[in-house]
Amino acid sequence: MLAQQLVNGVLLGATYALFALGFTLMFGVLRVINLTYGFYFSAGAFLALFLTRNLGFGVWAALPLAAIGAGVLAVVIDAALLTRLRRTKAPELSSLMVTLGGVLALYAGMTAWLGPDIRRLPPGLISADAIEFAGVRVTAAQGLILGATALLVAGLVALMRFTRLGLALRAMAEKPDAAGLMGIDTGRAAALVSFISGCLAGAGGVLIGLNFNAIHPFMGEAMMLRGFVVIILGGLGDIRGALVAGLALGVIETLTAGFVASNLKEAVAFALLVAVLWTRPQGLFGRAAIRRA
C-alpha cells in the first residue's frame, strides 16, 4: 500500500517536475513570471486530442507533435505580449500583468470556442495493461510518463550543460546584461526559451491527459498552482531545485490523498508554499537570488 502510494507519488511528481522545469527556465533566463505558461499545458493536451481523435495519430507521434505545437504557440504569444516590454526594460510586475491578462483571454477564448466540458482521448490509445512487481502496479500510461519525463529532463540538462546555446542561456540567467557579451540577442533568446518551455508544458499536458484521461481548457490553470509551489520550493529559476521539489510535491500530495483526505491535497500544497516563504524563501537549495524591491 505505502509502496504503491510512493510509486504513484513519484510518477505524479515527475509530471510536476516536467511542468515546473519550463516555468522556472523562463524565469531564470528571461526574468519574467510568464503566467501564460499554464495555457501551453492545456494547448498540448488539446492538440494531442485533435491529432489522435480527428487525424488518427498514435500516441508516439501525437506526443512530440503536440509538444512542438505548444512550443510554437509559446513563441508566438511571448513575442506578441512581451517584446515591447523587454525593449523598454519595463518593471517585472508589468510583464507579469500582461501575461496574466493574456492568459485569461486565452483560456476564455478557448472555452468559448471548444466549450468547458471534459473530453476524453480515444479508447485504446494506450494499452490498459499494467505490470506488477512486488505488489506495486505501474500502468502503461505511468510508464510512458516516467520514460518521457526522464528523456526530456535529460535532454534539457544536456542542452544546458554541454552546448554553446546552453552556456549562453546560463550566462544570461546569472547576469542579464551578459547576453550581449555572449553574442546572443534577447529576442532570439526569448524565442528559444519560450519554445523549449512551451514544449515541456505541452508534453506535460499530453501526459497528464493520458494518465487521468480528462482534458479541459482550464486544466493548465489547476496545474499552475503546482507550478508555483514547485518553483518557490525549488527556488525561483533553479532547475535542479524544480526537479527535486516536483518529485517531493507529487509524493506529498499522493500521501495526503491516500492517508488524510484526497480533497485536501491542494490545500496541503499551498500550506507548503506558505511555510517555505516564511522559512526558506530562497528555496530548498538556497541558490535563487532573493531580489528585494
Partner: protein, 280 residues
Amino acid sequence: MPAWLDDFLWTYQNLINTLGVNGLLALSMYVVLAVGQLSLGQAAFMGLGAYSSALMTMKLHLPFFVVLPASCVVPVLFALAIGVPTLRLSGVYLAIATIGLGEVLRTVYLNVDLVGGALGLNGIPERAEAWMIYGLLVVAIAALWLIGRSHVGRAMEAMRQDPVAASVMGVDVQRYQLGALLASAVLAGIAGCLSAHQSSFIGPNEYGFEPAVTILSFALLGGIGTPVASVVGAFILTLLPELLRGFSDLRLVFNGLIIVAAVLFLPRGLVALRMRRRAA
C-alpha cells in the same frame, strides 16, 4: 419617491448593488497598486469575507452591524500570513502567492461541508442595502483621497516610482506595503460581505482566478492616478457586459485583453489624472 424611480430601482437593484461592490473591489486593488505591488488575492479576500460573514449570519445569527465589520477579520489574517513573508522579497512572490491563494480556497470551499461544498451557501438573508454599499464606497474614496494628499500619499507614490529612493527619504517601505495589503484585504472582505448579503447565494467559483483578474482589469482600465479612476474602471467594465449581452461568452476575453492593452499602451489608464500630493 415617484413610481417610475421606484420601478427603475427595483428592476435594476441587483445591478446597482453590484456596481457599488465592484467599486469597492477596484479600490482594494488600487491601494496595492498605489504602493507598486501586485496582489491577485482580491477575489480570494472577497470570498473569505463573503463566506465568513454568511456563516456568522446563518450559523451564529449575529446582527448585520456586527457581521459587516467582522467580515474583514479572516481576510486580514490571510493577508498577514501571506504578506509578511513575501513583502521581504521581490514583488513577484506576492503576486504568485496570492494567485495560489485564490486557487486553493476554491478547492477548499468545494470540499468543505460547512460551507456547502459545490452547492455553495443558499438563503443568506438579504441585509445589505444600496445605501450601505454606496455609503461605504464614498467613505472609502474620501479616505483614500485624503490620505493621497498627505505625507502618507506622497510616500506611497514615491515608493511606487522608486522604492530605493523612497527608503532613503525615510519611508519604511515594507511597513507601507503591508499596510496597503491589509487595507486591501479589509476593503475586499467588506465587499464580499455586502455582496453575499445582497444576492442571497454564494458559491465556490465566484472567487477564483477569473474574478481576480477581472478586478485587476478594473483598476488598470481606470488608472491608478486617483482612487476615483479605478472605480470608474469598475463601473465601465460592470456595465459594458450588460449592454453587450450577446457577447457574454467573450466577456472574459475582453477583460484579459483590456489588461494587455492597458499595460502596453495605456499605462495611466483612461482617467489619466494625477493627484495633487499635498494638503497645503
